[in-house]
Symmetry: C2
Subunit: 329 residues, 2 copies
């Protein structure tokens, strides 16, 4: 939950007056999202989301993120669309921060993940990957192998405070990932953070994707690995093979996966686990006492990493219906 910047009514009224949205009816900080300040803004024209970008979002990346949302919306992907002011600009400034108004997306993110959610997620993710094929802007993934090593360097000295042996686990795993990381897989723009709180459903139907502020260029199937970690483990740490099978099957119906992509999945899942383990570890070690945002548990991703380390082949996940998953629920 996060509202970092307090916006005065006067500043807000002046800001909204730059748009064709009528007058402000209401504006309430939303207790969701951890990177930026988000407000549910109601004007005479209806509800919108107002986002103020805080320091973790780099200003120079914003044209990429906003351009991506415009591109996806134009391709029929349900996602927030940046609203342009009367001057044609969507990106402006409010309270000294870059700020944007985007369209309101109906739906709620699922608190309890059902298999059917994972099936719909797979379809939406594959459609996203097809839709970005002709998006021409690029943004390298700062949170791939090089970025992980940098984060590890910043956390190594204190990693064992969080779990005994974590430093050594990470060091060994980073070396293994470097040796086994795939090359030459189909690439494009990935969402890179498609956790359940970024996917909205209305009733049973997926109604949209939000929060494109980690989107970057990488292997498309790496996005699948991120979703497997984020959607297919139960709270008790067990791997739900049914959910993973549904996610994969529905993805492959829209965008077939090559043998090379499938074979890479275990290493991509390990890499994705390390990526979130490291960013959470960094936040855990560096979050100021009394901060609004409760840091997420890094050990959740250590447990996921350990699961993937036990995988001997694709059959251990879900691709062979006859092979039971070693930690399946």
């Amino acid at each position: 939950m996060a509202v970092y910047t307090e916006v005065s009514d006067e500043d807000l009224n002046a800001f909204v007056a730059q748009y064709d949205l009528g007058a402000v009816v209401s504006c309430k900080g939303i207790a969701e999202g951890v990177e930026n300040s988000n407000f549910l803004l109601v004007t005479d024209r209806g509800p919108y989301i107002l986002t103020l970008y805080e320091k973790r979002t780099r200003r120079e990346d914003l044209p990429f993120f906003l351009g991506l949302m415009e591109h996806l919306a134009a391709k029929g992907i349900a996602c927030p669309l940046p609203v342009a002011g009367r001057d044609g600009q969507a990106l402006r400034e409010l309270c000294g921060r870059p700020a944007v108004i985007v369209t309101f997306l109906a739906g709620m993110w699922p608190r309890r993940i059902l298999p059917q959610h994972c099936a719909q997620l797979g379809t939406a993710l594959a459609r996203l990957h097809l839709a970005v094929a002709d998006f021409t802007m690029r943004r390298p993934n700062a949170l791939s192998l090089g970025g992980w090593k940098e984060l590890y360097g910043k956390c190594a000295a204190r990693a064992d405070e969080v779990a005994p042996g974590l430093r050594e686990t990470l060091e060994t795993e980073l070396a293994a990932l470097e040796a086994h990381w795939p090359a030459g897989l189909p690439s494009g723009v990935i969402h890179a953070d498609l956790f359940p709180d970024n996917v909205f459903f209305r009733g049973e139907e997926l109604s949209g994707l939000i929060d494109f502020y980690f989107a970057c260029n990488d292997f498309l199937v790496y996005d699948v690995a991120i979703c497997i970690n984020a959607w297919c483990f139960e709270i008790d740490g067990s791997f739900n093979a049914t959910k993973a099978r549904l996610l994969l099957a529905s993805y492959r119906k829209v965008r077939p996966l090559s043998r090379a992509e499938l074979v890479s999945l275990p290493w991509l899942c390990r890499g994705s686990a390390v990526r979130f383990l490291l960013t959470r570890l960094y936040d855990w070690l560096n979050h100021p006492p009394g901060a609004f945002v409760r840091p997420k548990d890094p050990l959740e991703y250590l447990r996921k990493l350990r699961f993937h380390q036990t995988v001997r082949g694709l059959g251990d996940y879900f691709l062979d219906e006859d092979t039971p998953s070693p930690a399946g629920s």
Copy 2:
């Protein structure tokens, strides 16, 4: 900012199905309010506020609060109106907590208080006090002298951690308040927590009052004293006599104040300062590390108390235009 309870989409859909509100379109936790969990709930019928009452709000008080809002709304006071389900009941249960849906109130609370806000506040407060005259439910004020002494007892040993000498200041002040607290003033239901974040404006116009969860029976003019403390001091601690004059003058146009009420104001202001100083001190000393809610600064109210302690008579506030206020801005 506060969302304490996470509501699953399944629980929410089942809850909303008990009303004639159509289906849930969206539900987002609001980063406002410190006592309860508040959500901006959008259904097919439009926006509503969903409140889950957390442990600081006593279940047995809820019929009083909800009855008061219904009474006020029926009298034309702009405030949230509890929405009844198909069974006629407004108060139900969600996630093991008492829960209610209330109507959505347009407007925003003023981040920067202008004199004109105080003028409108005075009018609205007086109208509120007239509107409750025939409200028959009662709720004693648990946060009056007896409650302050109890809170002091819980905080005394550690008060000096927050400000040297605070323990003695409080002990002396409580004795003085006990000796000088007025009796026999006109009484009724007061809001008792009408801070700026509980008063909405649309543009220049006051559009409604919210958060009646401290409402209780007490001297009506004590509500005025609470508002003077909450609205008429600047961030630097100075007393803004213009704002106080406007608040009082507009209040008196709607509900005249007797001489006895006016003369009591300095002691009521001291008492109100002590009330918020003590509750904030208690929260400061007892808030769990890492809690979502940043405790409010108790010393803001120590400074207000010190100002009121210097007042020699009504003229020091605002009632005599020729007497400059000792700390006026």
